[in-house]
C-alpha cells in the first residue's frame, strides 16, 4: 500500500474515533443537549414568574399606574422620551408596566398548557388502554370518537363557548382545551397496545399468570413513557397555542393579565404603526421562547427514543 493510502487510512480512523466519541456522549439520554436547553428555557420562564412576584411591584399591572408608552431602558420612543429604571421594559398605552405584566402573565400560559395536557393525557391513557385491551364495540366507539374529535379545531369551539358565556377563568379555559388534546395520546396508546399485544412479550406475561391491569401498568406503560412524554409536550404546545389564540381574539380571561391579551391590546391600540415594539414584542418574544423550549424538549425526547435520529 502506498503511503498516501496509509495516511488517508489514518485520517479515516481518526474521524471514526471522533464520531464514536460523539456517540458516546449520548449514552445517558438525560444528558441530551436539546433536552437540557429546552427544559432550561421553560424553567427560566417559571423562575421569572416566581422570583418576579417576590421582587417586583405587581401593583404596576393596573391601568394608569405608570406613565404611558415609555420605551425599555436604553431606548427612546417617538416622543424622544428615554426609558427609565423604574419601568425597565417600558410601559403600555394604558399606563401599565410591561415587566409586571409579563411576570404575571407568563406563568399563566404555562399553567393552562400543563393543566390541559395533564387532564387530556390522563383521559387519553385510560381511553387508549381501554380501546386496545377491551376491543370490540368499545374500541370502535373510542376510535371513531377520537377520529372525529381530532378534526375539530378547539379554538372555534372555545370561541363559541366564550361568546355565549362571557368571561372564563384560567382553569375553565384549561378544562375546555383538555377536551381537545386527549385524542393523540388515545390513538398512540391504542396503536401501541395493539402492536404489543401481537408481539410476544405481553403473551408471555399472560402465560405467567399476570392480571390484565398488571400487564397494563407494570409491563407496558414503562415502555410507552418516551412516547407519552413526547405526546404530553405536543399537547402542552397545542393548549398554549389555543389559549394564546383565544386571547389574541380578545377572548380568554378578561380580568387577569395574559401574554396573549397584552398582544391583543397592543394590536388594537395600533402599537405596530406607532412603533411601540416593546408592547407586543416582549410578550411575543417570551411566548416564542416558551414554544422553542417545548420544541427542543420534544426533539430531545425523539432522539432519546429513536437512536437513529442522533446521527448527523
Amino acid at each position: 500500500m502506498t503511503s498516501t493510502d496509509h495516511q488517508a487510512e489514518i485520517a479515516a480512523d481518526k474521524a471514526a474515533r471522533k464520531r464514536a466519541k460523539r456517540m458516546k456522549r449520548f449514552d445517558n439520554p438525560w444528558l441530551n443537549p436539546k433536552l437540557i436547553w429546552g427544559a432550561g428555557l421553560l424553567l427560566a420562564i417559571v423562575a421569572l414568574g416566581l422570583i418576579g412576584r417576590m421582587l417586583w411591584n405587581l401593583e404596576l399591572v393596573y391601568t394608569g399606574s405608570t406613565p404611558l408608552k415609555l420605551p425599555p431602558l436604553g431606548f427612546e420612543n417617538l416622543r424622544k422620551q428615554p426609558g427609565v429604571l423604574d419601568y425597565p421594559l417600558g410601559t403600555d398605552g394604558s399606563g401599565r408596566d410591561i415587566l409586571a405584566l409579563i411576570i404575571m402573565g407568563a406563568p399563566n400560559s404555562l399553567f393552562v398548557g400543563l393543566l390541559a395536557s395533564l387532564i387530556g393525557m390522563s383521559t387519553g391513557i385510560v381511553l387508549g388502554f381501554t380501546a386496545g385491551f377491551v376491543g370490540g364495540r368499545t374500541d370502535d366507539v373510542i376510535r371513531v370518537l377520537s377520529d372525529v374529535m381530532i378534526t375539530i379545531p378547539p379554538l372555534l369551539i372555545l370561541v363559541v363557548f366564550q361568546s355565549a358565556f362571557g368571561d372564563v377563568s384560567l382553569t375553565m379555559m384549561a378544562l375546555l382545551i383538555a377536551g381537545f388534546v386527549w385524542q393523540s395520546p388515545t390513538r398512540l396508546i391504542r396503536a401501541q397496545v395493539l402492536s404489543m399485544k401481537q408481539s410476544g412479550y405481553v403473551q408471555m406475561a399472560q402465560l405467567s399468570g399476570a392480571s390484565t391491569t398488571d400487564i397494563m401498568f407494570k409491563e407496558m406503560l414503562p415502555n410507552l413513557i418516551p412516547y407519552l412524554f413526547g405526546s404530553f409536550i405536543a399537547s402542552v404546545t397545542t393548549a398554549i397555542v389555543t389559549a394564546v389564540g383565544l386571547e389574541v381574539l380578545g377572548l380568554g380571561p378578561q380580568r387577569i393579565p395574559t401574554l396573549g391579551r397584552t398582544i391583543y391590546e397592543a394590536i388594537n391600540a395600533g402599537a405596530l404603526i406607532q412603533n411601540l415594539w416593546w408592547w407586543w414584542g416582549i410578550p411575543t418574544l417570551l411566548l416564542a421562547t416558551m414554544f422553542i423550549g417545548l420544541l427542543l424538549i420534544n426533539l430531545g425526547l425523539d432522539e432519546v427514543s429513536n437512536p437513529r435520529l442522533r446521527k448527523a
Partner: protein, 322 residues
C-alpha cells in the same frame, strides 16, 4: 488458468461503534473464476453480508471500507468515481439481497421495478414481452406484472429478485442467502431456479449461505469465513473430503445426515469481542486443537493445489476427528 473475473485482495470493512471498530470483514482475499460459482459460508455475524457490501461499495455510515482492492473484469473497482461505479452496478455486478422480503419498493409495481433498472443502464425501458420472459425464466406467473410487492408470497418475491438480477446479463451475481428466509420446500425450489438460470446464462456467481448441504449441490468451490476472516478456500469435493481447517470440519460435520446420527458440534456463536480479535488464529478460542503456535499470525497457505487454509496444523490434523 485464465484471469479471474472478480478478484478481491485484502478487503477490510469496519463499523465504528462507541467502543471501537467492529472488524466485520478483516483482510479477506479470494478470486472468482469465469463461469464459476463460489460458495461463501460462515455462521451468522461472520461478515458475509459486510464483505458483499464492500465489494459493491455500499458500506454506509457507521461502516467504512478501511482498505483493499477489488478488480472486476480487469478493472480496478475501488479507483472508479462514484458515477462510473454506479454505471457498473447491476450491468456487471448484480445482487440478490439477503432480505428479499423487504427488498422491493412497496409503492411500485413489480414490473416497474424491473423496468427501471433496465432503463437506467440501457437507456430504453424493456417491453412487456421481455419482462414476461424474465418472469418465465424464474417460474413466475404472468399475472404479477400488474401487481405490487405486498400481493406476492415470500417465495415469489425471492424469484422477482432473481429475475431482476439477471435482467441485464451481468458478469457476476452475488446471491446473499437467497433462500434462507423461505420454508424448506420453497428453499429447494428457489435454489433450483437459481441454478437453472445460472447455467442458462453462464454467469459467475458468489453464493452466500450457511447451509453446507445446499452448498454442496450448488457450488464449485467453497470459502469458509469466521469472524471477519476467510479461514479456508477449497473445491467442494476437497472441502467435504479433506477439510483443512478445524472450523470447516465443524461446519461440515454439523450437516445432518440420515445414515449416521451425530451430536451437534456447534454450540455457541463467535465468542470473542469482534472489536478486539485475539492475536494469531481467529478461531483459537473455540478450536478443539489449539496449541501454542496458534497465537502466531496464520496467513492463508496452500495445502494442496486449489485448497488454501489458515491453520498451521492442517496437515497434522488431516483425518483426525474434531
Amino acid at each position: 488458468m485464465s484471469e479471474p473475473v472478480l478478484s478481491v485482495r485484502g478487503l477490510k470493512v469496519y463499523y465504528a461503534t462507541p467502543d471501537g471498530d467492529v472488524l466485520a470483514t478483516d483482510d479477506i482475499s479470494f478470486d472468482l473464476e469465469r463461469g464459476e460459482t463460489l460458495g461463501l459460508v460462515g455462521e451468522s455475524g461472520s461478515g458475509k453480508t459486510t464483505a458483499t457490501s464492500g465489494i459493491l461499495r455500499m458500506v454506509s455510515s457507521p461502516g467504512r471500507i478501511a482498505g483493499g482492492r477489488v478488480t472486476l473484469d480487469g478493472e480496478d473497482m475501488i479507483a472508479l468515481s462514484d458515477e462510473e461505479f454506479r454505471k457498473r452496478r447491476w450491468s456487471k455486478l448484480a445482487l440478490i439481497p439477503q432480505g428479499a422480503m423487504n427488498s422491493l419498493n412497496p409503492t411500485m409495481k413489480i414490473s416497474a421495478q424491473i423496468a427501471d433498472v433496465v432503463r437506467t443502464h440501457t437507456g430504453a425501458a424493456p417491453d412487456r414481452a421481455r419482462v414476461l420472459e424474465l418472469f418465465q425464466m424464474v417460474g413466475l406467473p404472468e399475472r404479477i406484472y400488474e401487481m405490487y410487492p405486498h400481493e406476492l408470497s415470500g417465495g415469489m418475491k425471492q424469484r422477482v429478485c432473481i429475475a431482476m438480477a439477471v435482467a441485464l446479463n451481468p458478469t457476476v451475481i452475488i446471491a446473499d442467502e437467497a433462500t434462507s428466509a423461505l420454508d424448506v420446500v420453497v428453499q429447494r425450489v428457489v435454489a433450483q431456479t437459481l441454478a437453472k438460470v445460472r447455467d442458462a446464462l453462464g454467469v459467475s456467481m458468489i453464493m452466500i449461505g450457511h447451509d453446507m448441504g445446499l452448498m454442496a449441490q450448488m457450488v464449485d468451490r467453497i470459502a469458509v469465513m469466521y469472524a471477519g476472516k476467510i479461514v479456508e478456500i477449497a473445491p467442494v469435493a476437497d472441502m467435504f473430503a479433506r477439510p483443512g481447517h478445524p472450523y470447516s470440519k465443524i461446519l461440515i460435520e454439523s450437516v445432518p445426515s440420515l445414515t449416521e446420527r451425530r451430536p451437534m458440534k456447534i454450540t455457541e456463536g463467535i465468542t470473542h469481542d469482534p472489536r478486539n480479535p485475539p492475536e494469531g488464529c481467529i478461531f483459537q478460542l473455540r478450536c478443539p486443537h489449539v496449541n501454542d503456535g496458534c497465537t502466531k499470525p496464520q496467513p492463508m497457505r496452500e495445502l494442496r493445489p486449489g485448497q488454501t487454509v489458515a491453520c498451521h496444523r492442517a496437515e497434522e490434523l488431516e483425518g483426525a476427528h474434531v
